[in-house]
Symmetry: C2
Subunit: 210 residues, 2 copies
DNA sequence: ACCTGAACACCGTTCAAGT
DNA sequence: ACCTGAACACCGTTCAAGT
């Protein structure tokens, strides 16, 4: 019998299947053995394509972050920050179960640093000091990561009846899962715009970009 | 030989030791077997005191969150939010390795809901609508959780020399670990104050608390 | 080149058994 | 009441062996 000329696995297939497990069953549900089983193969085979589990996760994280758009700094810093924050937020929201992995640990990767550099550069060019550029970048990151992690969606159990009398201020409508996604999005937008508004009012934009 | 009348274990000792492992070696370093070993006991013994590992972690999380101070809403909403955010931030910063656990998953616990209720109530009493009270509460939580997770400290490798030429905008001083803690704190304060400032400017406080 | 079985050193958790 | 040994069903990873 000749060996089948087509390999059973591919990086593509591995990534896809891993992400599917994470999205549907959670980060802790991903194991090399389960992943292999779904791919119709034994766990050891995966190591022909991936150095280890951690590297696979970093790989997924990186391709997620490729959607982050930093091009808005070509215009003024406000649209730069807004475009950056929104695309960042959208990228994380697409695979919420991967967010804890992305957010913990150093973002030591090439692409991440290139984006950080672009954000910092855009802010400095708009007249912010080095120090403020760093802090503004950090603040927006806090907002994005925080909203991806501590989102309302999934934060409360489904039947809000339980809470009704015990916690009078937490009214039903604000706890229902069906409204949670909308509230999450509105809260993020509020936080982002209020933050930017606060920045504009409080500090002089010494030489603002046109 | 009589059985030793004093038990070897106690909830106190278990919690203390678990937290020490998490703080010094990280969340993933905590295993029931390693914890037992440090306590001079076998893993199975722990189950006389703790239903399972997850419950132990929730227990640690809860006692951390007891430090969150919601009393500031006795005065105006600005100090209410500020006191809340700072104490929340401080609590998380004390055990950063536990933050991913705290931030993921529903905060379904009694004490957490009581605090959420207090925040919401305080904001509504200050004249914010139900909807805005919810969004403001969420926004601040985003900031606190985000700053605890995506903190600069530990976010970059120690020798910043590597970055110097490759990423011209990310200057050395902003990447050094020694400065990271200070930048983190300053960024959090900037974000919080700019957010509050933005809120005050943009929306009428219809009937502000005296 | 790619896949496998077997092995190693780990997990969380249960449970009958000991004192 | 509290601790233990042994077991069960899992992990990630390596490696000699097969094709």
């Amino acid at each position: 019998m000749p060996r089948p000329s087509q390999p059973l696995l591919s990086m593509e297939r591995i990534r896809e299947c891993a992400l599917e497990i994470i999205d549907t069953a959670g980060l802790e549900a991903l194991s090399m053995r389960r992943l292999a089983e779904r791919l119709g193969v034994r766990a050891a085979s995966l190591y022909n394509y991936v150095p280890n589990k951690d590297e696979l996760l970093h790989d997924l994280a990186n391709s997620m972050m490729d959607q982050v758009d930093v091009s808005g700094f070509g215009s003024d810093w406000v649209t730069g920050v807004t475009v950056w924050a929104r695309s960042y937020h959208r990228a994380l929201a697409e695979h919420p179960n991967l967010v804890p992995f992305i957010a913990s640990g150093p973002a030591r990767r090439e692409a991440a640093l290139r984006r950080a550099d672009a954000v910092h550069g855009g802010l400095v060019e708009a007249g912010w000091s080095q120090r403020y550029a760093t802090m503004i970048g950090a603040s927006v990151k806090y907002l994005v990561v925080g909203s991806a992690m501590g989102s309302f969606a999934g934060g409360f159990v489904d039947d809000a009846e339980i809470y009704d009398e015990r916690f009078p201020n937490l009214s039903r409508a604000h706890l229902l899962r069906s409204h949670a996604a909308e509230i999450d999005h509105a809260s993020f937008e509020l936080a982002l715009h209020a933050f930017i508004e606060g920045l504009r009012r409080r500090y002089t934009e010494t030489d603002s970009a046109e």
